[in-house]
Amino acid sequence: MVEREEKEMLGFLGVDEVDELFEDIPDQVRTELDIPEGLTEREATAKVKKKLKKNKDPDELSSFLGAGVYEHFVPAAVDEIIGQSEFYTSYTPYQAEISQGMLQALFEYQSIIAELTGLGAVNTSMYDQPTALAEAVLMSARIKRKGHKFLIPENTHWENDPVLKNYLRGQDIEIEKVDFDEKGQVDKEDLKEKMDQDVLGFYIATPNVFGVLEEDVSVFKDLKEDEDSVLVVGTNPLVLSLMKPPGDWGADIVVGDSQPFGIPQAYGGPTVGMFACGERYIRKMPGRIIGETEDSQGKRAYCMTLQTREQHIRRERATSNICTNQALMALASASFVFLKGSEGLEKVAKENYEKAHELAEKMNGLDGFEAPHFESEFFNEFTVKTSMDPQDLYERCKKEDFLPGVPLDDRFSSLSDVLLTAVTEMKTEEEIDGLVDTLKEVKG
């Protein structure tokens, strides 16, 4: 059938062979592909499945790894919702009238993030947390025209730095680092010292890469106002059902990753870069934004808005080059939040808090362990100091199918004997006690 149809089409074009349609490609650049012949769907599926089976069986592993990606429960309904083919097989909603479903769903996502962060203007996503932070630094320079420095504390994720370095190539912005104090929080004295007229803005992560929460946030608002600079706050959306919204304590821009909301760990991607800012900065924002409006009959409707900021209209004067983002993951996060509800979210957040504190306490009771290493409040992740070599400890736990946390020795020279351990609602009492027992055995 295909052959007959193609013959008709070629006939309509007045050509005999399909290759005649490629006669504009010069012979000198012609080439053939050196990859294997195709397979049937059955064969291809079997082949890929067989490879995937070489990954560790997740049911046989008890992981306490976090550091930016967390193991949370994803209700089956989330997969059903993002699996609706009208959602996942659609393109960016350029034609609003025929794309109301996705537009409204993304507006719900923006509304959820606004409610959690306390900042009204939200985009439909950046790629992930580090790229959201990089865009926030670039936006800070658009907000505050003067100044060349942006301050980043040392207690933020190690993968931020190389991403920032690349995004700031060719910009007249320099990153200056700020120390952390003995509690793992930003060293306020060092921050104060480095704040001056040349500072465009500064970043505060809470929880930070040690899981530590900043305990006195009022100081940041004062500092920001003194130097008229931009305050960018990085956070975890799950903690925001318990923690004061950063918008209420001075944040101009909030970034983070919505991965804890309905998105699997998936080897680190796709996740969804969260980006919210104060309403007065909307024209300086990067990325796609959905706005509320009406149709010609006065019925409520949604569409992409403020598009003159974007690359497809503004080209070299756009606020960012981003086009494809992580929209379907934003939909996953929105559906997760509605399935949980306000009370459900709070319950999960408290469960994370309680289980993490339970494990920290149990670890701290073991000989040769100190948990948390930084004596600050934390959410679902904390540092553990060990009298053993952390790599050795890690290897020995691994043999028992426990991953006790991410060793920080590669990342922070002053933390050569520290692990970063995360505990979510997924960890059962058996797993928590199992890890404690394993540590006890390993320590000997």
Partner: protein, 475 residues
């Protein structure tokens, strides 16, 4: 489809409207950072949430609904087996920092995909890290930047033709480069203009081939020579790769850096805006500049390699959009050499067939043989007091997604049409008939469109004026 098409039309209030004021009780956090008021998010029965999103999905149009001929977006059918594979727990569960020995399946697939893409692009090495096409572009420019810096070469200009995708100039500006845009001649790069534009300041030349008019740039090798002679690098925007698989490669055309759009050419779904994936490929000379980590194979298996001499470092967290990579790997593995070349052939056949079917109705600027897409001009519509936008909206009433409109900018009232290989002749004939039928309609009907969609013509000006970007911002 026909003008009988009817999209679902429900009255759906935002769920966020149902949130209620409530205090957080027994908050474990210290008082001065503890939230007092709970976020105003509704507590609803699960099945009501499922029904709500289900109804919203009925007010959305995807490639599974019908033809989606958005030019430069390559909206082809997204196979279901790859979706299934990407939902297996072995695929979704791995933590990015778990030991490499626990992630051998993932790493093996990533390594093989690196090799497959290198072959498809005629490149030496590939990084899977960039999350989207524009992200790949800017990664490529970072590599060019580092390369010139290592050569103590202070080049500050990037050249591109006026047909370039909007992301190209935006990426150039973000990297602090000056943009040099050269005019096209007969829809292709004007070699004289290029020769005039290149010089000691040329860091790179960016182009897509076939270009956004769907025309193959036959002078590609000459361009490479001109740019290389001036000491610049050539960047290939891979958005249009679906037009050349098995016929030629950017490597063969002497490009140095390129990106792939896995969510276009390799059939991973676009998800209403993303996630996509934009791996980049480079020549042997630039291999050591790729972002880290890349995936390497040695005697003990597969591992993440952070040790690349000139690496630019990172462009995002972790290793790329793994689940998207997995789907593209499944697609390439199933299609194979023969399937991919067939895809290109049929995409180009469909494009030219539809082009000839539509030519009687609107003008086709520039020569006629096109690759995977073509661009019509709607300037004729102006005689009737209509715009391309009106035609696009009326197509929605017939149950078709509209083409890309008003791009490329050098075509007046442009309609950019890319049918892809997964459409039948019958679908294309139906689209052409709808087109013909609309051209015979009176202006009022067209201006009044759409009327068969979930909402009527959306007031975009009001959206800008009100700038209501969340429920919180509603007055």
């Amino acid at each position: 489809m026909s003008s009988d098409y009817r999209q679902a039309r429900y009255e759906e209030e935002l769920l966020m409207e149902d949130g209620v004021e409530r205090e957080v009780e027994e908050n474990p956090l210290p008082e001065n950072i503890a939230r007092e008021r709970a976020p105003k998010i509704p507590d609803l029965p699960k099945h009501e949430v499922v029904r709500y999103f289900n109804r919203l999905s009925h007010m959305n149009y995807g490639i599974d609904t019908g033809l989606y001929p958005l030019g430069s977006c390559t909206m082809k059918y997204n196979p279901k087996y790859t979706e299934k594979l990407a939902s297996l727990p072995e695929a979704t569960s791995p933590h990015p920092y778990q030991p490499e020995e626990f992630s051998q399946g993932t790493l093996e697939i990533m390594w093989e995909l690196q090799r497959q893409l290198a072959e498809l692009g005629g490149m030496h090495s590939v990084s899977l890290q960039p999350a989207a096409g524009a992200h790949g572009e800017i990664t490529g420019l970072m590599i060019a930047h580092q390369y010139h810096e290592n050569n103590d070469d202070d080049r500050n200009e990037v050249i591109m033709p006026d047909t370039a995708h909007g992301t190209n100039p935006a990426s150039v500006s973000m990297m602090g480069y000056n943009l040099v845009e050269i005019p096209s001649e007969d829809g292709c790069v004007d070699m004289e203009a290029l020769e005039e534009a290149v010089g000691d300041n040329t860091a790179a030349f960016m182009i897509t081939n076939p270009n956004t008019l769907g025309l193959f740039e036959t002078d590609a090798c000459e361009m490479a020579e001109v740019v290389h002679d001036a000491g610049g690098l050539l960047y290939y925007d891979g958005a249009n790769l679906n037009a050349i698989m098995g016929k030629t490669t950017p490597g063969k055309m002497n490009f140095d850096i390129m990106h792939f759009n896995l969510h276009k050419t390799f059939s991973t779904p676009h998800g209403g805006g993303g996630p996509g994936s934009g791996p980049i490929g480079v020549t042997e000379e630039l291999a050591s500049y790729l972002p880290v980590p890349t995936v390497e194979k040695d005697d003990e298996g597969y591992r993440l390699n952070y040790d690349l001499e000139n690496s630019i470092g990172r462009v995002k967290g972790f290793y790329g959009n793994w689940l998207v990579l997995l789907k593209a790997y499944g697609y390439i593995t199933k299609e194979g050499r023969d399937g991919l070349e067939r895809a290109t052939e049929r995409a180009v056949l469909n494009s030219n067939y539809l082009r000839k079917k539509l030519e009687p109705h609107l003008d086709l600027p520039y020569k006629s043989l096109r690759k995977h897409e073509f661009v019509l001009s709607g300037k004729k519509l102006k005689d009737k007091g209509l715009k391309t936008k009106d035609l696009a909206k009326r197509l929605l009433d017939y149950g078709y997604h509209a083409p890309t409109i008003y791009f490329p900018q050098l075509v007046d009232e442009a309609l950019m049409i890319e049918p892809t290989e997964t459409e039948t002749k019958e679908t294309l004939d139906g689209f052409a008939e709808a087109f013909a039928s609309i051209m015979a309609e009176d202006e009022e009907t067209i201006k009044d469109a759409p009327k068969n969609t979930a909402v009527r013509r959306v007031d975009e000006t009001k959206a800008i004026r009100d700038s209501t970007l969340s429920y919180m911002m509603r007055d």
